[in-house]
């Protein structure tokens, strides 16, 4: 009956006979579905206790989004984390080496080393992104799973996704602005985990990941639920989440923060000192997401995906010379993307938008508004459009090219990219990794 409720979505009042034929055909297909649960590929199973996966994304971009000695601050937002701007030339967007080990019937562990593209002063060193212990119950991969350690968040598919898994080399604007691109933190997660069906859980974080801070009043937590369904031609997934973070004097660690260095520019260029404006307060973000995959034919697959986030900020922005202003903000961002695969080729488009509605109140509001990036005198609503073509050249190697129209800043920038994605399961040999686009 799951399938019937799923297709109800397509029943439009006043449909024509053609439609009904179409829907009936669809329903038949859906009813004939054999739901094939996909193994949660990150949990090593007892039969193959050791898994090693590697991925690497290397991209060449035709233009930088901003000048080398400038800061990427999208008007109307207060950014941070690891949301570095796109830079001209080659960039190792990311590299991951993941080791999973099944300890026994109930326990497993994961260690992942990763690096992502840094800013101008190369912040892209190798980091221990994951180191956690998991416990599974009741089956090889769940449905009950508890994890503890340093890990990535699972509440949002957009936040959890890496450049090697996306159709596009650049992270969604929403993820860059609300979560500082990469979310790795220490915490615990408990979830009911059904790869085809209902998943729901909660995560509790120490607060190292933007937009929280790890401090006396800092930290973050989230809850999420989603429903996945897969049939012969159609696959569906939708869900929602709520994330809450608290921060004390949160800095934009891309350019500021405790270890702020004075930027040094070559002769003839200037490098301004970054205004170290902090945020203390709460951030609440809700998200909704959906994904629909439709296989037309053995060789043809079309998918459409969306995620929409709405963030509320309630706190104060302040700086080192005791200026402050109260911030009350509602910001929304999201994207819709679709992809069409034909054999080893695919084309994908992504459309993104970010809208901000901020109120800054306080004697220092004008100055801090400008310095934090929250001011938006032109009422700019950032947008971005990306079109990508990718070709899976070898089993683990994909070549991709993109054209990007970037309106995240006041001036519209166009750039194109050419890149390779290498993604492979190294152990056990011969097994190919689930290609999770």
């Amino acid at each position: 009956m799951k399938s019937l409720s799923a297709i109800r979505v397509f029943q439009i009042p006043g449909r024509t006979l053609n439609d009904q034929v179409f829907i009936m055909r669809l329903s038949l297909l859906l009813l004939a579905v054999v739901t094939t649960p996909v193994a949660a590929h990150y949990i090593p199973v007892e039969s193959t206790p050791v898994t090693v996966d590697a991925s690497m994304v290397m991209t060449w971009r035709s233009a930088s989004l901003i000048d080398d000695y400038d800061f990427w601050q999208i008007p109307g937002t207060q950014m941070g984390g690891h949301a570095w701007p796109a830079q001209k030339g080659f960039s190792l967007d990311e590299m991951n080496l993941n080791l999973g080990y099944r300890i026994d019937e109930n326990f497993f562990s994961v260690i992942k080393l990763g690096s992502h593209a840094g800013g101008h002063e190369d912040h892209g060193g190798i980091e221990l992104e994951h180191a956690y212990l998991g416990w599974v119950c009741c089956d090889d991969t769940g449905p009950w799973v508890a994890e503890l350690g340093k890990m990535s968040a699972r509440f949002s598919p957009g936040v959890a996704m890496h450049a090697a898994d996306r159709w596009f080399s650049e992270a969604p604007l929403a993820v860059d602005v609300f979560f500082g691109r990469h979310f790795h933190d220490q915490g615990i997660r408990l979830w009911w985990h059904e790869t085809a069906g209902v998943s729901a859980g909660a995560e509790l974080w120490r607060g190292d990941a933007f937009p929280a801070t790890h401090s006396e009043n800092g930290g973050a937590w989230d809850v999420f639920a989603r429903y996945a369904w897969q049939g012969g031609r159609l696959s569906l997934e939708f869900g929602g989440w709520f994330y809450s973070a608290s921060a004390d004097a949160r800095a934009d660690h891309r350019y500021g923060g405790g270890h702020q260095h004075v930027p040094v520019a070559p002769p003839g260029q200037t490098a301004a000192l970054f205004p170290d404006v902090r945020y203390t307060g709460d951030t609440y973000i809700v998200g909704l997401h959906g994904k629909l995959g439709y296989r037309l034919h053995r060789d043809w697959l079309v998918t459409v995906e969306t995620e929409w986030m709405r963030a509320e900020m309630d706190g104060a922005v302040h700086d080192g010379i005791n200026r402050q202003a109260q911030l009350d903000a509602t910001q929304q961002a999201g994207w819709v993307q679709s992809a069409l695969n034909w054999r080893r080729q695919s084309v994908a488009v992504r459309w993104e938008q970010l809208s901000t509605d901020n109120a800054l109140v306080g004697a220092a509001a004008p100055q801090l508004g400008v310095q934090s990036g929250l001011d938006n005198p032109q009422g700019h609503t950032p947008k971005r459009m990306t079109a990508a073509w990718s070709w899976q050249w070898r089993d683990g190697v994909t070549v991709r090219a993109e054209a990007i129209r970037d309106e995240s800043l006041l001036t519209t920038e166009q750039r194109w990219t050419l890149g390779v994605v290498w993604k492979q399961r190294l152990l056990p040999q011969g097994a190919s990794m689930h290609h999770g686009h």
Partner: protein, 403 residues
Amino acid sequence: MISMMRNFPPFKKYRGGHWLFALCIFFLPFLAGCPEQSETRIDDMGASRSAFDWQLPAGIPLPREPESNPMTEEKFQLGRHLFYDDRLSVNGTISCASCHHQDKAFSDGRERPRGATGHLHPRNSQGLVNVAWYNSLTWGNPALGSIEQQVMIPLFGEDPIEHGINEANFEQVLQSLQADVQYAALFEKAFPEQDDPLFGDLAWDNIVKSLASFVRGLTSFNSPFDRNELSQSARRGEALFDSERLECFHCHAGYNFSDATVDRTTTTFVEPLFHNTGLYNVDGLGAYPEPNTGRHEVTGQAQHMGQFRTPSLRNVALTAPYNHDGSVATLEDVIRNYASGGRHITSGPNAGDGRISPIKDGFIVSFSITEQEIADVVAFLESLTDEEFISNPRFSDPWQDAE
């Protein structure tokens, strides 16, 4: 929608409905787009309102105005007359302008000035540049929070004697002002709410408030630095100034080049900052020679020894000699003292090695610097000179203009 599209001629040819469905899915993103408008509302709660025209460039926040003495142009103009008036002293020899010359950004070029009766002041005459933005007044007095309080010190102070006005002579000094008809009009305009501002009980209060208003209105933000007209050398100097090697910018911070800056945007109470820059170490424990022990002179606390307020560096090229006692002749020498991490005095009563002072500030660390780099830093400091400030007729001697 599907039905509409299926009936649309170009699509009719398609055999399978699922092809069309797939196409719709694929093109869905193109239909997306919310007309949502973004906006940031800024409310500074009146912080940018003032009855006075401060003549500030955009981006410089207004200084605080005391509630008991809001700024007006009329008080500013009265204060300007008083500032340049020799009659405002025990023997008609000294005005504020005797120690505060406009062409030297209101410093006086001397190591230490003498008062009306010949007393030598222990400290160097300060330039009066953007004084309105300081959170404490004078070289190192944490207790002086307002310009009104500060102005009373040269007028009525006894140690040292500056203007030399006291119980015995204040009526006579006031009478000399009352005798000038110009003042009657100026006082009336400045204090319209008072019946008799020049002859009444509040006359001295009014003098102090007007002088303070004039000093508060001495604003300087039009240097080549502000106009972004730096020479190559000054640019290199700026980079050095802002570098972790020289550390200057930590204390000489912000738009007024001083961490002792407050303005209307700094809403919370700020503990005034004072620093020991290692100029003296007369006892091996970091002591400064009496009476110039800075914040310690006022608080008596040992840990405040040698701590002074960070002076603004705006117009600093005009205010030699330097430091609280005028003991450093040139900017080059100031920088050399910083480069050695303090000053080493080898002979005389103040001999001692400030470089090893145990109580100097953590940012006073030695660094290597070439002569060219010193010249670059000096070029940067010179770029903070505001020529308009030192020639602005608004700030000049009104008595001379009248002649």
